[in-house]
């Protein structure tokens, strides 16, 4: 109970340390979702609408990557960014940028796989109508992505959920440096191991609230959009 009270105190007093961690967490996760969407939505649409040799294999691999263990992704990015790695000269290891890269790698397959499934289902529905209207390939893709936009929000939410809850990859590539690369999840893991439960609980409450808030906003957007566009 004492821990709960201390956690509440941290929240109510807008503890600067706590809110710096929250801010960095949101920045890293939302950036990762943004970049993953830039990669995943076109990739998913491409997979949904094209036929090429090995397509099935690519789909299986992307689906499998949805379950990529974060620590494995973290290790791979660590090896790439470490001083002796191929991208070591970029000097990104133990920076927020490295954490964004790691989370992008984890989230992109989720967005790509869900986008592919969504677009493919819609394509089956729309194919004849768009063909009858002689809609060209580029406009077809744009139409399908636009008309699937409310379903794609769910894909982005799934990606955000993965990014926000993730700890294994970012602790490896970010290093959990206080005031620089410490996020909510890495801080919770650290503070719990140190026995500083108030901060861990406070961060846990904030994390859950943020996830609920973002999901509620997305749900509201989806409902409003569906009411307007059907």
């Amino acid at each position: 109970m004492a821990s709960d009270a201390s956690a509440l105190h941290l929240l109510l007093t807008a503890d600067p340390g706590l809110f710096a961690i929250v801010r960095l967490s949101l920045l890293v996760s939302l950036s990762a979702v943004f970049f993953a969407a830039l990669i995943g939505v076109p990739a998913g649409a491409f997979l949904a609408l094209t036929c090429f040799r090995g397509r099935e294999g690519v789909i299986v691999i992307i689906n499998a990557l949805m379950g990529l263990p974060p620590v494995v992704a973290g290790l791979a990015i660590f090896l790439l960014l470490s001083r002796s790695g191929p991208l070591g000269s970029w000097g990104l290891l133990f920076t927020p940028q490295a954490m964004v890269i790691a989370q992008t790698v984890l989230v992109a397959p989720i967005i790509a796989a869900l986008t592919r499934q969504t677009i493919e289902d819609l394509w089956v529905e729309y194919r004849d109508e768009l063909a009858a209207m002689e809609v060209g390939p580029a406009r077809r893709v744009a139409t399908l992505v636009w008309d699937a936009r409310f379903s794609l929000i769910t894909a982005l939410l799934a990606g955000f959920g993965r990014a926000a809850a993730e700890v294994g990859a970012i602790i490896i590539v970010g290093g959990n440096v206080d005031g620089f690369t410490r996020t909510m999840t890495t801080a919770i893991a650290l503070e719990t191991s140190k026995g500083d439960l108030p901060l861990a609980i406070g961060l846990g409450i904030v994390l859950i609230c943020i996830v609920i808030l973002i999901n509620a906003l997305a749900w509201g957007m989806r409902r409003a959009g569906e009411r307007y566009a059907g």
């Binding site: 529905e125 004849d128 109508e129 009858a132 209207m133 139409t143 009411r227 307007y228 566009a229 059907g230």
Partner: protein, 242 residues
């Protein structure tokens, strides 16, 4: 929207046309000509090949054998065509946006979209439904919106696949009234139905299909007055044509 006068060069010709899908014959050596003029109605039981003929004419289904041409010459580009399928798919946007989309796809200048969309929605009786989500419209309203979308292409030939299937009499009449209006504007209508009453009300020519073959291809009054085949007699009598 400008509706054309009946095109004298409009003669859709199937010559020994066949469609086989996964070993199943859908169209079997079909030879027929659909000329300009009053509506041509394809009738026949389910699976007789009505929809496939429309799809082939629209270029949505390729022929396995034989050929199709417009005006008897393969080098002649098909006229502007549009189709309304039996279960039209509404794009996830408003009714007006569905029509705008079709106008854009038909390369109608954007400056004309608003007026054209209003005119088309008015033609199908949906002028006050423009802001409604298309997928929330009733079945009959969706069919009418699909007609407006098809007409946005300013077609010389309009293919309708069972346009009133599963609609109530009021919705059916609304669609038939639109077909009359479209026909009056010089658009050639080619329609599939297995509603004999509707065929009587709308058809200029009747093509009876059975098991992918053309059984009869005659003027409508002749078809109903004097059947020439046993299949036609059975179909008109409401007997099962299996």
């Amino acid at each position: 929207m400008t509706m054309r006068a009946p095109g004298s060069d409009l003669a859709l010709m199937f010559e020994d046309a066949g469609v086989v899908v996964r070993g199943v014959t859908i169209l079997d050596h079909v030879t027929l000509t659909i000329a300009a003029g009053p509506p041509t109605v394809l009738i026949g039981p389910n699976g007789s090949g009505k929809t496939t003929i429309l799809r082939v004419a629209m270029g949505l289904t390729p022929l396995t054998s034989g050929r199709i041409s417009w005006g008897g010459q393969e080098s002649v580009a098909p006229p502007r065509r549009a189709i309304m399928s039996q279960r039209p798919v509404m794009l996830r946007r408003t009714a007006a946006a569905n029509v705008h989309y079709a106008l854009t796809a038909a390369h109608i200048p954007r400056t004309e979209h608003h007026d054209s969309a209003q005119e088309l929605l008015a033609l199908v009786g949906l002028e006050s439904f423009g802001r409604r989500p298309a997928r929330r419209l009733s079945g009959g309203e969706q069919q009418r919106l699909a007609l407006a979308r098809a007409l946005a292409r300013d077609p010389a030939v309009l293919f309708l696949d069972e346009p009133t299937a599963s609609l109530d009499p009021y919705a059916t009449k609304a669609i038939e009234d639109i077909i009359h209006a479209v026909r009056a504007r010089g658009v050639k209508v080619v329609m599939a139905t297995h509603d004999l009453g509707q065929a009587k009300r709308l058809a200029g020519d009747i093509i009876l299909l059975h098991r992918g073959r053309v059984i009869e291809n005659v003027r409508a009054e002749e078809f109903f007055a004097k059947t020439r085949t046993e299949e036609a007699r059975k179909f008109i009598a409401g007997e099962l044509l299996v």
